[in-house]
Subunit: 225 residues, 2 copies
Protein backbone atom coordinates (compact mmCIF):
# COMPACT_ATOMS: atom_id res chain seq x y z
CA UNK A 1 0.00 0.00 0.00
CA UNK A 2 1.20 3.50 -0.83
CA UNK A 3 2.06 6.10 1.81
CA UNK A 4 -1.17 7.63 3.10
CA UNK A 5 0.56 10.48 4.91
CA UNK A 6 3.67 12.58 4.36
CA UNK A 7 5.32 14.18 7.37
CA UNK A 8 7.91 16.90 6.93
CA UNK A 9 10.93 18.30 8.59
CA UNK A 10 10.39 22.07 8.55
CA UNK A 11 13.47 24.16 9.49
CA UNK A 12 15.73 23.88 6.44
CA UNK A 13 13.46 21.48 4.52
CA UNK A 14 10.36 23.70 4.11
CA UNK A 15 11.62 27.10 5.20
CA UNK A 16 14.83 29.13 4.98
CA UNK A 17 15.57 29.96 8.62
CA UNK A 18 18.97 31.56 8.01
CA UNK A 19 17.93 34.46 5.79
CA UNK A 20 14.85 35.42 7.77
CA UNK A 21 16.41 35.14 11.21
CA UNK A 22 19.41 37.21 10.07
CA UNK A 23 17.03 39.87 8.74
CA UNK A 24 15.21 40.12 12.08
CA UNK A 25 18.47 40.15 14.04
CA UNK A 26 19.76 42.99 11.83
CA UNK A 27 16.61 44.99 12.50
CA UNK A 28 17.07 45.05 16.29
CA UNK A 29 20.83 44.51 16.74
CA UNK A 30 22.40 46.76 14.10
CA UNK A 31 25.93 46.40 15.50
CA UNK A 32 26.31 42.61 15.19
CA UNK A 33 26.99 40.42 12.15
CA UNK A 34 23.39 39.27 11.72
CA UNK A 35 24.12 36.20 9.60
CA UNK A 36 26.79 35.02 12.02
CA UNK A 37 24.35 35.63 14.89
CA UNK A 38 21.70 33.50 13.14
CA UNK A 39 24.21 30.69 12.61
CA UNK A 40 25.38 30.81 16.24
CA UNK A 41 21.77 30.85 17.44
CA UNK A 42 20.93 27.82 15.32
CA UNK A 43 24.08 26.06 16.57
CA UNK A 44 22.66 26.11 20.11
CA UNK A 45 19.55 24.25 18.92
CA UNK A 46 20.86 20.72 19.03
CA UNK A 47 22.73 20.90 22.36
CA UNK A 48 19.63 22.42 24.00
CA UNK A 49 17.46 19.53 22.79
CA UNK A 50 20.12 16.94 23.63
CA UNK A 51 19.62 17.44 27.38
CA UNK A 52 15.91 16.78 26.96
CA UNK A 53 16.44 13.75 24.71
CA UNK A 54 18.86 12.33 27.27
CA UNK A 55 16.37 12.76 30.10
CA UNK A 56 18.45 15.43 31.88
CA UNK A 57 15.55 17.86 31.56
CA UNK A 58 11.80 17.42 31.05
CA UNK A 59 10.18 18.45 27.76
CA UNK A 60 10.43 22.19 27.17
CA UNK A 61 8.96 23.66 23.97
CA UNK A 62 11.36 24.88 21.32
CA UNK A 63 9.94 28.40 21.71
CA UNK A 64 11.46 28.47 25.20
CA UNK A 65 14.74 26.90 24.07
CA UNK A 66 14.98 29.53 21.30
CA UNK A 67 14.54 32.30 23.87
CA UNK A 68 17.13 30.81 26.23
CA UNK A 69 19.57 30.32 23.35
CA UNK A 70 19.00 33.85 22.09
CA UNK A 71 20.18 35.27 25.39
CA UNK A 72 23.13 32.88 25.56
CA UNK A 73 24.37 33.94 22.10
CA UNK A 74 23.77 37.62 22.86
CA UNK A 75 25.66 37.30 26.15
CA UNK A 76 28.58 35.57 24.41
CA UNK A 77 28.73 38.49 21.96
CA UNK A 78 28.42 41.07 24.73
CA UNK A 79 25.08 42.44 23.58
CA UNK A 80 21.55 42.41 24.99
CA UNK A 81 18.68 41.07 22.87
CA UNK A 82 14.95 41.61 23.34
CA UNK A 83 12.90 38.51 24.27
CA UNK A 84 10.59 39.25 21.34
CA UNK A 85 13.34 38.50 18.86
CA UNK A 86 12.76 34.79 19.48
CA UNK A 87 9.46 35.16 17.60
CA UNK A 88 11.62 35.55 14.47
CA UNK A 89 11.34 31.76 14.19
CA UNK A 90 7.60 32.18 13.51
CA UNK A 91 8.30 34.30 10.42
CA UNK A 92 10.47 32.23 8.09
CA UNK A 93 10.00 32.24 4.31
CA UNK A 94 9.16 28.93 2.63
CA UNK A 95 11.54 27.88 -0.16
CA UNK A 96 9.96 28.90 -3.50
CA UNK A 97 8.67 25.41 -4.42
CA UNK A 98 7.13 24.59 -1.03
CA UNK A 99 3.63 26.09 -0.98
CA UNK A 100 2.65 24.92 -4.47
CA UNK A 101 4.33 21.56 -3.88
CA UNK A 102 2.47 21.00 -0.61
CA UNK A 103 -0.83 21.96 -2.25
CA UNK A 104 -0.26 19.32 -4.92
CA UNK A 105 0.80 16.69 -2.37
CA UNK A 106 -2.21 17.49 -0.15
CA UNK A 107 -4.63 16.39 -2.89
CA UNK A 108 -3.72 12.72 -2.39
CA UNK A 109 -2.03 12.58 1.03
CA UNK A 110 -2.37 13.80 4.56
CA UNK A 111 0.46 16.33 5.01
CA UNK A 112 1.80 17.43 8.38
CA UNK A 113 4.98 18.83 9.87
CA UNK A 114 7.02 16.46 12.02
CA UNK A 115 9.34 19.13 13.33
CA UNK A 116 10.98 19.84 16.65
CA UNK A 117 8.97 23.07 16.69
CA UNK A 118 5.95 23.29 18.99
CA UNK A 119 2.30 23.27 17.86
CA UNK A 120 2.19 27.05 18.46
CA UNK A 121 5.37 27.69 16.47
CA UNK A 122 4.37 25.43 13.57
CA UNK A 123 0.89 26.98 13.49
CA UNK A 124 2.19 30.54 13.33
CA UNK A 125 4.86 29.58 10.78
CA UNK A 126 2.18 27.97 8.60
CA UNK A 127 0.01 31.08 8.77
CA UNK A 128 2.97 33.32 7.96
CA UNK A 129 4.10 31.32 4.94
CA UNK A 130 0.82 29.79 3.77
CA UNK A 131 1.83 26.19 4.46
CA UNK A 132 -1.43 24.20 4.01
CA UNK A 133 -0.91 21.49 6.65
CA UNK A 134 -3.74 19.10 7.48
CA UNK A 135 -2.64 18.86 11.11
CA UNK A 136 0.42 19.61 13.25
CA UNK A 137 2.48 16.67 14.50
CA UNK A 138 6.05 16.55 15.86
CA UNK A 139 7.94 17.01 19.09
CA UNK A 140 5.11 18.43 21.19
CA UNK A 141 2.73 15.51 20.80
CA UNK A 142 5.64 13.15 21.56
CA UNK A 143 6.97 15.34 24.40
CA UNK A 144 10.46 14.56 23.11
CA UNK A 145 12.78 15.63 20.30
CA UNK A 146 13.87 14.13 16.97
CA UNK A 147 15.80 12.09 16.10
CA UNK A 148 14.38 9.98 18.98
CA UNK A 149 12.27 7.25 17.33
CA UNK A 150 9.30 8.03 19.58
CA UNK A 151 8.72 11.33 17.76
CA UNK A 152 8.22 9.64 14.38
CA UNK A 153 6.15 6.88 15.96
CA UNK A 154 3.94 9.37 17.83
CA UNK A 155 3.16 11.04 14.49
CA UNK A 156 2.11 7.69 12.98
CA UNK A 157 0.05 6.84 16.06
CA UNK A 158 -1.72 10.21 15.97
CA UNK A 159 -2.68 9.50 12.35
CA UNK A 160 -3.67 5.91 13.27
CA UNK A 161 -1.41 4.64 10.49
CA UNK A 162 1.32 1.99 10.61
CA UNK A 163 4.81 3.48 10.03
CA UNK A 164 5.13 1.89 6.59
CA UNK A 165 2.18 3.97 5.38
CA UNK A 166 3.87 7.21 6.48
CA UNK A 167 6.75 8.90 4.63
CA UNK A 168 9.19 11.31 6.27
CA UNK A 169 10.38 14.11 3.97
CA UNK A 170 13.59 15.91 4.94
CA UNK A 171 16.64 17.72 3.62
CA UNK A 172 18.75 16.08 6.33
CA UNK A 173 20.10 12.56 5.97
CA UNK A 174 20.24 11.98 9.73
CA UNK A 175 16.52 12.76 10.09
CA UNK A 176 15.78 10.15 7.41
CA UNK A 177 18.09 7.57 9.00
CA UNK A 178 16.12 7.92 12.24
CA UNK A 179 12.74 7.79 10.46
CA UNK A 180 13.76 4.68 8.53
CA UNK A 181 14.95 3.12 11.77
CA UNK A 182 11.45 3.64 13.16
CA UNK A 183 9.93 1.91 10.13
CA UNK A 184 8.79 4.91 8.09
CA UNK A 185 9.31 5.49 4.39
CA UNK A 186 11.75 8.24 3.45
CA UNK A 187 12.10 11.04 0.89
CA UNK A 188 15.13 13.29 0.51
CA UNK A 189 14.89 16.79 -0.94
CA UNK A 190 18.23 18.67 -0.94
CA UNK A 191 18.41 22.26 0.29
CA UNK A 192 21.99 23.11 -0.66
CA UNK A 193 21.82 26.74 0.48
CA UNK A 194 20.25 26.13 3.93
CA UNK A 195 23.58 26.89 5.62
CA UNK A 196 24.73 29.51 3.12
CA UNK A 197 27.23 29.46 0.26
CA UNK A 198 29.81 27.32 2.08
CA UNK A 199 27.46 24.44 2.93
CA UNK A 200 29.26 21.07 3.02
CA UNK A 201 26.63 18.76 4.56
CA UNK A 202 23.45 17.17 3.17
CA UNK A 203 24.27 18.21 -0.38
CA UNK A 204 23.28 14.77 -1.63
CA UNK A 205 21.30 11.73 -0.53
CA UNK A 206 23.62 9.53 1.54
CA UNK A 207 21.49 6.38 1.38
CA UNK A 208 18.97 4.71 -0.92
CA UNK A 209 15.99 6.70 0.36
CA UNK A 210 12.64 5.57 -1.07
CA UNK A 211 12.36 8.84 -2.98
CA UNK A 212 15.04 11.35 -3.92
CA UNK A 213 13.50 14.51 -5.37
CA UNK A 214 14.92 17.83 -6.59
CA UNK A 215 12.24 19.88 -4.87
CA UNK A 216 8.60 19.60 -3.71
CA UNK A 217 7.28 19.88 -7.29
CA UNK A 218 9.38 16.88 -8.23
CA UNK A 219 8.27 15.07 -5.06
CA UNK A 220 4.61 15.63 -6.03
CA UNK A 221 5.30 14.33 -9.55
CA UNK A 222 7.00 11.21 -8.21
CA UNK A 223 4.22 10.53 -5.70
CA UNK A 224 1.30 11.23 -8.04
CA UNK A 225 -1.11 8.26 -8.00
CA UNK B 1 -6.92 42.39 23.62
CA UNK B 2 -9.12 40.60 21.09
CA UNK B 3 -9.28 36.79 20.79
CA UNK B 4 -6.24 35.61 18.84
CA UNK B 5 -7.59 32.11 18.32
CA UNK B 6 -11.00 30.54 17.83
CA UNK B 7 -11.49 26.92 18.82
CA UNK B 8 -14.54 24.99 17.69
CA UNK B 9 -16.76 22.20 18.77
CA UNK B 10 -17.15 20.03 15.65
CA UNK B 11 -19.89 17.35 15.91
CA UNK B 12 -23.10 19.31 15.62
CA UNK B 13 -21.44 22.74 15.51
CA UNK B 14 -19.43 22.39 12.27
CA UNK B 15 -20.81 19.18 10.77
CA UNK B 16 -24.16 17.39 10.55
CA UNK B 17 -23.38 13.95 12.02
CA UNK B 18 -26.97 12.68 12.01
CA UNK B 19 -27.70 12.79 8.30
CA UNK B 20 -24.36 11.42 7.16
CA UNK B 21 -24.16 8.62 9.73
CA UNK B 22 -27.72 7.53 8.93
CA UNK B 23 -26.82 7.45 5.22
CA UNK B 24 -23.83 5.19 5.85
CA UNK B 25 -25.81 2.94 8.22
CA UNK B 26 -28.54 2.58 5.57
CA UNK B 27 -25.94 1.54 2.98
CA UNK B 28 -24.69 -1.46 4.98
CA UNK B 29 -27.64 -2.31 7.27
CA UNK B 30 -30.69 -2.05 4.98
CA UNK B 31 -33.07 -3.67 7.49
CA UNK B 32 -32.68 -1.21 10.36
CA UNK B 33 -34.12 2.30 10.85
CA UNK B 34 -30.92 4.12 9.93
CA UNK B 35 -31.80 7.46 11.53
CA UNK B 36 -32.80 5.75 14.79
CA UNK B 37 -29.54 3.77 14.65
CA UNK B 38 -27.52 6.99 14.23
CA UNK B 39 -29.31 8.55 17.20
CA UNK B 40 -28.77 5.47 19.39
CA UNK B 41 -25.11 5.35 18.35
CA UNK B 42 -24.64 9.01 19.26
CA UNK B 43 -26.44 8.43 22.58
CA UNK B 44 -23.64 6.04 23.63
CA UNK B 45 -21.05 8.78 23.08
CA UNK B 46 -21.34 10.60 26.38
CA UNK B 47 -21.56 7.55 28.68
CA UNK B 48 -18.47 6.06 26.97
CA UNK B 49 -16.48 9.23 27.62
CA UNK B 50 -17.84 9.60 31.15
CA UNK B 51 -15.88 6.57 32.38
CA UNK B 52 -12.68 8.13 31.03
CA UNK B 53 -13.45 11.58 32.46
CA UNK B 54 -14.12 9.99 35.85
CA UNK B 55 -10.80 8.14 35.80
CA UNK B 56 -12.43 4.70 35.56
CA UNK B 57 -10.59 4.08 32.30
CA UNK B 58 -7.44 5.58 30.75
CA UNK B 59 -7.71 7.78 27.65
CA UNK B 60 -9.03 5.87 24.64
CA UNK B 61 -9.47 7.71 21.32
CA UNK B 62 -13.02 8.43 20.18
CA UNK B 63 -12.39 6.27 17.07
CA UNK B 64 -12.20 3.26 19.39
CA UNK B 65 -15.19 4.35 21.46
CA UNK B 66 -17.21 4.77 18.24
CA UNK B 67 -16.31 1.22 17.22
CA UNK B 68 -17.20 -0.24 20.62
CA UNK B 69 -20.48 1.70 20.66
CA UNK B 70 -21.32 0.62 17.12
CA UNK B 71 -21.22 -3.02 18.18
CA UNK B 72 -23.19 -2.34 21.36
CA UNK B 73 -26.03 -0.65 19.43
CA UNK B 74 -25.99 -3.34 16.74
CA UNK B 75 -26.12 -6.07 19.42
CA UNK B 76 -29.04 -4.34 21.16
CA UNK B 77 -30.89 -4.31 17.83
CA UNK B 78 -29.99 -7.93 17.09
CA UNK B 79 -27.88 -7.16 14.03
CA UNK B 80 -24.19 -7.42 13.19
CA UNK B 81 -22.33 -4.35 11.90
CA UNK B 82 -19.00 -4.21 10.09
CA UNK B 83 -16.09 -2.54 11.98
CA UNK B 84 -15.54 -0.27 8.98
CA UNK B 85 -18.86 1.46 9.55
CA UNK B 86 -17.25 3.38 12.41
CA UNK B 87 -15.28 5.32 9.76
CA UNK B 88 -18.63 6.96 8.89
CA UNK B 89 -17.67 9.57 11.51
CA UNK B 90 -14.80 10.67 9.20
CA UNK B 91 -17.25 11.54 6.41
CA UNK B 92 -19.69 14.11 7.81
CA UNK B 93 -20.93 17.06 5.76
CA UNK B 94 -20.22 20.55 7.07
CA UNK B 95 -23.27 22.78 7.56
CA UNK B 96 -23.60 25.02 4.47
CA UNK B 97 -22.09 28.15 6.09
CA UNK B 98 -19.08 26.44 7.67
CA UNK B 99 -16.35 26.27 5.03
CA UNK B 100 -16.77 29.84 3.78
CA UNK B 101 -17.23 31.10 7.33
CA UNK B 102 -14.04 29.38 8.55
CA UNK B 103 -12.10 30.77 5.56
CA UNK B 104 -13.19 34.28 6.52
CA UNK B 105 -12.39 33.73 10.21
CA UNK B 106 -8.98 32.26 9.36
CA UNK B 107 -7.83 35.52 7.81
CA UNK B 108 -7.57 37.21 11.20
CA UNK B 109 -7.51 34.34 13.71
CA UNK B 110 -5.94 30.99 14.36
CA UNK B 111 -8.77 28.47 13.90
CA UNK B 112 -8.70 24.93 15.29
CA UNK B 113 -11.12 22.23 16.37
CA UNK B 114 -11.41 21.62 20.10
CA UNK B 115 -13.46 18.45 19.74
CA UNK B 116 -13.60 15.15 21.55
CA UNK B 117 -12.55 13.56 18.24
CA UNK B 118 -8.96 12.38 17.85
CA UNK B 119 -6.28 14.05 15.72
CA UNK B 120 -6.76 11.29 13.09
CA UNK B 121 -10.55 11.69 13.06
CA UNK B 122 -10.45 15.50 12.92
CA UNK B 123 -7.79 15.40 10.18
CA UNK B 124 -9.81 13.04 7.98
CA UNK B 125 -13.03 14.94 8.63
CA UNK B 126 -11.30 18.18 7.61
CA UNK B 127 -10.03 16.63 4.38
CA UNK B 128 -13.47 15.20 3.61
CA UNK B 129 -15.33 18.46 4.15
CA UNK B 130 -12.64 21.02 3.29
CA UNK B 131 -12.40 22.49 6.80
CA UNK B 132 -9.33 24.79 6.64
CA UNK B 133 -8.02 24.35 10.20
CA UNK B 134 -4.65 25.84 11.17
CA UNK B 135 -3.96 22.98 13.60
CA UNK B 136 -5.85 20.22 15.41
CA UNK B 137 -6.44 20.63 19.15
CA UNK B 138 -8.91 18.87 21.46
CA UNK B 139 -9.24 15.72 23.53
CA UNK B 140 -6.17 13.89 22.23
CA UNK B 141 -3.62 16.52 23.21
CA UNK B 142 -5.30 16.75 26.63
CA UNK B 143 -5.71 12.95 26.94
CA UNK B 144 -9.13 13.63 28.43
CA UNK B 145 -12.61 14.59 27.28
CA UNK B 146 -14.69 17.76 27.28
CA UNK B 147 -16.29 19.25 29.26
CA UNK B 148 -13.34 18.68 31.63
CA UNK B 149 -11.59 22.09 31.93
CA UNK B 150 -8.22 20.56 31.14
CA UNK B 151 -9.24 20.04 27.51
CA UNK B 152 -9.91 23.75 26.93
CA UNK B 153 -6.80 24.73 28.88
CA UNK B 154 -4.61 22.28 26.93
CA UNK B 155 -5.77 23.93 23.70
CA UNK B 156 -4.79 27.37 25.03
CA UNK B 157 -1.44 26.03 26.27
CA UNK B 158 -0.69 24.43 22.89
CA UNK B 159 -1.28 27.82 21.26
CA UNK B 160 0.78 29.55 23.98
CA UNK B 161 -2.12 31.92 24.58
CA UNK B 162 -3.85 32.87 27.86
CA UNK B 163 -7.46 31.60 27.97
CA UNK B 164 -8.90 35.11 27.66
CA UNK B 165 -7.34 35.40 24.19
CA UNK B 166 -9.06 32.19 23.02
CA UNK B 167 -12.75 31.90 22.11
CA UNK B 168 -14.69 28.64 22.16
CA UNK B 169 -17.35 28.39 19.45
CA UNK B 170 -20.12 25.84 19.97
CA UNK B 171 -23.77 25.04 19.30
CA UNK B 172 -24.05 23.53 22.80
CA UNK B 173 -24.58 25.67 25.86
CA UNK B 174 -22.93 23.14 28.19
CA UNK B 175 -19.71 23.23 26.13
CA UNK B 176 -19.65 27.03 26.48
CA UNK B 177 -20.38 26.89 30.22
CA UNK B 178 -17.34 24.67 30.65
CA UNK B 179 -15.15 26.84 28.42
CA UNK B 180 -16.19 29.99 30.28
CA UNK B 181 -15.46 28.23 33.55
CA UNK B 182 -11.92 27.64 32.28
CA UNK B 183 -11.53 31.35 31.47
CA UNK B 184 -12.10 31.29 27.70
CA UNK B 185 -14.32 33.63 25.70
CA UNK B 186 -17.45 32.10 24.22
CA UNK B 187 -19.52 32.22 21.03
CA UNK B 188 -22.84 30.44 20.48
CA UNK B 189 -24.05 29.44 17.02
CA UNK B 190 -27.37 27.54 17.08
CA UNK B 191 -27.79 24.36 15.03
CA UNK B 192 -31.52 23.78 15.50
CA UNK B 193 -31.67 20.71 13.24
CA UNK B 194 -28.66 18.83 14.68
CA UNK B 195 -30.99 16.35 16.40
CA UNK B 196 -33.69 16.35 13.72
CA UNK B 197 -37.09 18.02 13.45
CA UNK B 198 -38.07 17.38 17.10
CA UNK B 199 -35.00 19.03 18.66
CA UNK B 200 -35.75 20.61 22.03
CA UNK B 201 -32.28 21.47 23.36
CA UNK B 202 -29.77 24.20 22.50
CA UNK B 203 -32.27 26.06 20.34
CA UNK B 204 -31.18 29.34 21.90
CA UNK B 205 -28.32 30.82 23.87
CA UNK B 206 -28.93 30.10 27.54
CA UNK B 207 -26.44 32.63 28.91
CA UNK B 208 -24.88 35.96 27.95
CA UNK B 209 -22.18 34.43 25.77
CA UNK B 210 -19.63 36.96 24.45
CA UNK B 211 -20.95 36.45 20.92
CA UNK B 212 -24.28 35.01 19.76
CA UNK B 213 -24.29 34.51 15.99
CA UNK B 214 -26.79 33.07 13.51
CA UNK B 215 -24.15 31.10 11.61
CA UNK B 216 -20.42 31.22 10.78
CA UNK B 217 -20.89 34.04 8.26
CA UNK B 218 -22.48 36.13 11.00
CA UNK B 219 -19.72 35.10 13.41
CA UNK B 220 -17.09 36.30 10.90
CA UNK B 221 -18.93 39.61 10.49
CA UNK B 222 -19.13 40.15 14.25
CA UNK B 223 -15.45 39.28 14.76
CA UNK B 224 -14.10 41.28 11.80
CA UNK B 225 -11.35 43.62 13.00
Amino acid sequence: MRAQALIFDVFGTCVDWRGAVAREVAAVLPHVDATAFATLWRAEYDPAMARIRDGGRGYVALDDLHRENLHKVARDLGVSAPDDLSHAWERLDPWPDVVAGLRALKRHHIIAPCSNGSIALMTRLAKFGGLPWDCILGAEIAQDYKPKPGVYLAACAALRLPPDQVMMVAAHNDDLHAARGAGLRTAFVPRPSEHGPGQTTDLVAEADWDIIANDFHDLARQLAP
